[in-house]
């Protein structure tokens, strides 16, 4: 498989996971949250800063939960890809020659 095909396939899989499959994810508290509630330090969590247009993986103003969550997932994936990919490209060793070859 060519590198470009591989990378695009991987990105499509990630977008489907975050944009579509995430709707079906469990909404139960995760291990740490559950333990915090069970043991009794859950109420020390400070959620006051949790507002913002994409808080809790929902796009403000989009009412349909499937669309809102899916859109939030897609945005998050693309932002993460851009920052991490950009950072990796900036940090990488550059080939002294064949710079344009792939």
């Amino acid at each position: 498989m060519k590198t470009r095909t591989f990378l695009l396939t991987g990105l499509v899989v990630a977008l489907l996971l975050g944009g579509v499959a995430s709707y079906y994810a469990s909404t139960h508290p995760d291990g740490l949250e559950h333990v915090a509630e069970q043991v009794g330090f859950g109420d020390t969590a400070d959620e006051s800063a949790a507002d913002g247009p994409l808080a809790d993986y929902e796009v403000n103003g989009v009412d349909d939960p499937r669309l809102s969550g899916g859109l939030a997932g897609v945005i998050g994936i693309l932002v993460t890809l851009a920052i991490a990919g950009g950072l990796a490209l900036a940090v990488r060793r550059r080939a002294p020659r064949d710079a344009d070859a792939d």
Partner: protein
């Protein structure tokens, strides 16, 4: 396992912030050796994939869920230093855009995910690789084992921080046993997802899997009849 604001006191959060910053500085230096024109796009993809996978909470029973940490997965795919950077980017995006994990707890979360989870995952993986036969078929299995171990170890890491800076007077023993108990179960999910993802990448492009390089190098030495450099110019 994203730690929210408020669980840990300010001095502990500052201390983990320092650890996280030092970790990122070390990772930036180390990642330079891991990244080239071919692997840099892979790093972006792995970060995006971990972000997506962390949205997929799977049920682990009794009203609890877990999701991938991705430390071992990222380390095996792109190397530990780059993995640490990628996890830090994922946590940054989650905290700043999605209010998932506190902003004052960002250092804590980077310490737990980028340093503890990635570090444990990579050390277990490489440790097993050195004592077991170098076979490419083993790479996904070892990645799965490393992923499994990384989850309860990261949970213990949190309990350690909670012991120092926890904001509620609760019995530490109870925090430790319940954290480790639940995260052993979550670790099984982590292991399964990691093994599946690594095996699909190994099946399609083993050359893009950092952890497969020892096995690939050995295989190449066995097969090659003439030393023509088959596209491996770098």
């Amino acid at each position: 396992m994203h730690v929210p604001d408020g669980f840990l006191d300010a001095p502990t959060s500052v201390a983990t912030g320092v650890v996280a910053a030092a970790g990122i500085a070390i990772a930036l230096r180390g990642a330079r050796r891991e990244l080239d024109d071919r692997t840099a796009p892979m790093a972006g993809l792995v970060a995006a994939f971990v972000f997506a996978a962390q949205m997929l909470n799977f049920p682990v029973g009794a009203g609890t869920s877990g999701h991938l940490l991705g430390g071992a997965l990222a380390a095996v795919l792109i190397g530990p230093y780059t993995a640490a950077l990628c996890l830090a980017v994922v946590l940054l995006v989650q905290a700043l855009l999605f209010a998932d994990g506190g902003t004052t707890a960002l250092g804590t979360n980077i310490t737990l995910f980028s340093v503890v989870a990635v570090g444990t995952g990579w050390l277990v993986f490489r440790g097993l690789q050195t004592v077991l036969p170098t076979r490419i078929a083993l790479v996904p299995i070892l990645a799965g084992v490393a992923a499994f171990v990384s989850v309860p170890v990261t949970a213990v890491g949190f309990v350690g921080l909670f012991a120092v800076g926890g904001q509620a007077p609760v019995a530490l023993g109870a925090v430790l046993t319940t954290m480790v108990g639940w995260h052993l179960v979550i670790g099984l999910g982590e292991a399964l997802i990691t093994a599946l993802v690594v095996s699909s990448v190994v099946a399609t492009r083993p050359d893009l899997v950092r952890g497969a390089r020892p096995a690939l190098a050995q295989r190449t030495l066995e097969i090659r009849q003439s030393p023509t450099a088959g596209g491996a110019v770098s």
